[in-house]
Every structure is written in structure tokens, then in C-alpha cells.
Symmetry: C2
Subunit: 327 residues, 2 copies
Amino acid sequence: MTTIKEVAKLAGVSVATVSRALNNSGYVSEEARKKVESAVKELNFYPNEVARSLYQKKSKLIGLLLPDIANPFFPLIAKGVEDGVNQRGYSLLLGNVEDDLEKEKDYLKIFAQNNIAGVISAVQGDIKDLQNMPFVLLDRVESDQNFSVHSDDYTGGMMAAEAIVSRDPKEIVIMVGPKEVPSSAARLAGNQKVLKDHQLDYQIFQTSSFKFELAEQTAEQFFDTYPNVDSVIASNDVYAIAVMKEALKRGRRIPEDVQIIGYDDMPFSRMMYPGLATIAQPAYEIGYRGAKLLCDILEKGFVEVSRIQLPVILKIRESVRKKDEDE
Amino acid sequence: MTTIKEVAKLAGVSVATVSRALNNSGYVSEEARKKVESAVKELNFYPNEVARSLYQKKSKLIGLLLPDIANPFFPLIAKGVEDGVNQRGYSLLLGNVEDDLEKEKDYLKIFAQNNIAGVISAVQGDIKDLQNMPFVLLDRVESDQNFSVHSDDYTGGMMAAEAIVSRDPKEIVIMVGPKEVPSSAARLAGNQKVLKDHQLDYQIFQTSSFKFELAEQTAEQFFDTYPNVDSVIASNDVYAIAVMKEALKRGRRIPEDVQIIGYDDMPFSRMMYPGLATIAQPAYEIGYRGAKLLCDILEKGFVEVSRIQLPVILKIRESVRKKDEDE
DNA sequence: TTGAAAGCGCTACCAA
DNA sequence: TTGGTAGCGCTTTCAA
């Protein structure tokens, strides 16, 4: 490993001058700069971030907390976050938390031990655990003073319900995600607003998790509970796909006998057959904007907008019937 | 941030003693240890990894290089790697490379700047770029002296072909992944061995990428090129699913008119309808074993086995027809 | 068994 | 405009 000392020696200047030249801080004569530059090139020198970080008490690392990287919604978020922080010179320390509060705490400790510059979190944990680290929350809407990026769940819920309402529903069941997840509640509220406005009856099927592994058995329970359901507003695309499969297995046609709308628009949703109608959340964008927001906080110390809400988009695909007026 | 100095002061000993007590290195009297422990507890002290890492010239971080985290095969690998390294006290620095050689180099530099302990890579880049960092390669079989974990692609290719052969194929097309990817070649060799042994004709459809975004248009081209195909050996599950969708769109029944077998067994493959028959690669296990292998290298300095090959499993699902003998 | 002190690579202060 | 130097928090000699 080449150090600043060796560069200084080769350039015939002091380490202080090299440091100044490298960081464009303080006075460096044109001549000295030239000498440093060529020494840096010759030795293929790049500064050790660990030493920097020790002195600054702040590294170029950002901690990323994810609930479950195997859930196909989160890799996209991660990609957005990564692109965003990279552009500003930061890298990511990965923390896949698995809905485990202990694991989350462990990671926050590790983050602190590594002089992390900030945290981007998409998990539901306790904000207080974040201590004094700068942070941005993704896909969570809790208290009002938070720095966060999320999409418009209430409107999304309304759009999903409207898509169903306008397609001749007979028996509507809303599949609701875990109660603790704020976005589930907002979506449900949006669903209900629309259904009530149209004076339509509906049932609620509460799920306790978004976990991939539970989707199939949940779908079975779902149809056991509501065998005659004809219109499903699913909690997310993973569960919607499981419901679709279960419906087809039970010999029900989609969308003729059962129509389904999901939530998220995962990459796979459009590759289903029939294609899954859904509310598209801009997952990559959520991550990307979250990254930018955090970087702004870190660099400027303040931000104009601290809560970013992104729009959702209705994606009509073949898993829902044709609209009433189209018929 | 609490430092070792404050702990020393509170405990009434020197920082050297605190350090020794924390690391169980050198002599520490029982009495001193007690005092240190209670001071640590009282101050809620935890050591700064950055300072440690600066002195040791080696951090507790491991760099993870992935080709594309949005490809559903890799989050599972990442999860395995993460669990594996966590158990040994390491954390992950994420490097999503996007099949971009420059980006890979950038990440390796960042890894070096952060005194990374080692690298786990699932990308196809140049090994020499890894310089002197200890590394483990996943899912790659290149030269013989490498540290690597991969699954048995040749056998997997044979299994896929056998599954088709025993199911009354009429017109077989093998969809082959990118030429540069060693595992594609091995799978193809396995396919061909079996087909030749059975003296069956087949066509080869070469793809240039594993990229998710290209799957749908590739599937279209596939059917344009081979409109009468009745048995498809796909390069992976993503492309198999795209082929399934395209077949259904064209009014061909699965598996009666077209039968398909994939490769990987992504979580979604079993949630398709019909379920996608495939060769299951133990993605999580590949990551986990890779992590263990690297940790062994780092801690012991040597390993008994440096190349780990994991078995693959044939998963028969409804996307292939019934076996000849079953009829 | 202990503590003083050097040093990991870098930045920033201060004096020249 | 420059260089000497202290110090970031920790580990590890080495002498006591």
C-alpha cells in the first residue's frame, strides 16, 4: 500500500502539502501541485479511507437497512440507493435485517463502529435506535418530522379500488398487509374510501406478514375463507401472484371468474400470464431519491424538502376484466 | 462516542490494559478485568472499528461484488453470503457491478481504500484486478487454482436434457446463455451429451445476456425463429418464464404444445401457473459456503478444500409433460 | 501483570 | 505558500 508519505518523498514536498493538494484545501503552488500529481500517478497512489475516516470521525460509508433482500421489491430499492450514493462518492454497508429487531440493533452498532456517515432504512424498527446518525427512511410514514421518501399509498389504495369498482365486481375481498406497516393502513384507507363512496360491500382478509415464503399458504387460506370471491385487492404483488396461482389451481379463470389487482409492480408482475394488474411503486426511484436526500443532509446540513412523496401509477393488465364502459 | 481512554479512566487502569482485556490478549489480572468490564458496561462502550482497522491494516469488512442485484438469483446469494460472514463477525460492503468493467474496478479500489479483509465476487471480471486481496469466486469456474464455489453445471445440463428426452420431444431448442459465462458452456455441454447419446436433433438459440429487461424481447425473437418448437431447454428461469408467457400469448398450450425447463429455481418459479420445471441451484448455499470459505482463508490462512462444487436438483413441475413411461 | 509510548495513514493547525 | 506536528482511537511492543 502506497502512503501519502511516499508520495511526499517522491514529490519532494511535505505530507501536509500532498494532503492539501489532494483535497484542494488551503494553499498549494502550481509547481507543488504538479509535482504531487505526477508522484501520485507514478506511485498509483490513492488515499486510505480508513485513516481519513478515523480523523474525520466520519467515513464515506452509508448503512443500508433492508427488511428482506429476498423480497423482490427491495433489490430495486437497493439499486436505486446504490446509484444515488455512488454518484456522491459514498458506498454502502449492507444490513439485511430479516424483520429481526435484534439484528437491526446489531447492525446499527456495527454502523456506528465504522463511523458511518448516515443510514438509509426501509425497516420498521424504532427510530430511537438510530441514535444520532443522520438517516432517511424509505417507504415508511411515521411521525411528521422525519426525513423520508415514500409513495402515495392512500392514492394507490384508491386507484386499486377504483380499478376493481369499474369492472363489475361481485364479491370483493381486500387482502391487507401487516397492521404494523403504516403503508398497509394507508392503502386500506384508500380502498375503503372508494368502496364506501360506491356503497359496495367488501370483506377484509388480514395477513400478518409480507414474507415470500408464506405467500402460497396464505393464498390457500384466503380461498378457503372466501371461496366465492370474484375480485381481489391484494396486499402486494407477491401475494397477488400466489392468489392467482391458487385460483387457477382451483379451476377458476382469470379474470373471468376472479379478477385480481396487486401492489408494487415488481419486475415479474408483467411476465405473468395473464399479466398482473397492479399499482406501480417507483422502487428504484424511492431508493435513488432517498440516497440523494441523505447526501444533501450530509453535505449541506439542511434540505429544502425533507419528506418526499412519489406518485404511483395504475398498471392495467390482463388479470382484471374489461372496464364496464368498454363492454 | 465513548473511547477506550474514558473506559481506562473510569476503571482506573491504563488503555493498554483495557485493550488487552477487550481482546483477551496478553496478561490481565482478574481484578483488572472485572474493573474494565464494569466500566465498559457503565459507559456502554464498544470499540471503534475504524481505529482498529487502521492499525491492523485490515478491517472487518468484506466486499461483495454482484453482477446485477435486480436479477432474482443474486439476492439469494447475497443473503447466504451475509449470513455466512455475519456469523464470523464480518459485514458486507455492497458492490453492484452491472456488468460494467469500470464499475468493478472502481469498487475494487474502494474496497482497498477501506482495508477490506477479502472479496466475494460473482462477476465475470478479470481476476488480476483483485490484486492481493483474498477472494472467493461464486458461480464461476475458470482456472484451477481458484477459491470458488459453484454448482454442478454439467450435470445440471444433463438433467435438464434428460427431463426433456424422456418426455416425447418433437422439436428441441436449447436456449444458451452468454458465451463468456463459463457455466453456460458447461450446461450446454451437458445438454448436448444427453441429446447426442439419444441421437436427437436440436437447434441452438444463442442469447447475449442474462439481463432481466431483455427477456421478453428475446422470447419473441425465439418464437419468431423457431415457431414450431415443442421442447425448450432455457438458459435460466427468467428467460424460461418469458418464453412461457410468449408461448401462451401465441395460443400454445403448456405443456401440451410446448414444454419448457428452466435453470436456477428462483423463488418465483414455483409460483407460476403452470409451475416451471427447472434445475435448482442452491443459491443461498452457494453464498453461504463462499462466505465460510473466505472466512476460513482469512482466519486460518489455509483451507482443506478450495473449490466447492454443490449438487443441483431436478424440479419437475407442470411446465413439462408427463414422462413417457407414466402414460 | 502493568503502563508508557510509538505508530497505523491521514488532516488540520500553527508557525515560519 | 510551506512543513512540522499533534492527534483521530486503537493495538502492541517493551521496560518496569
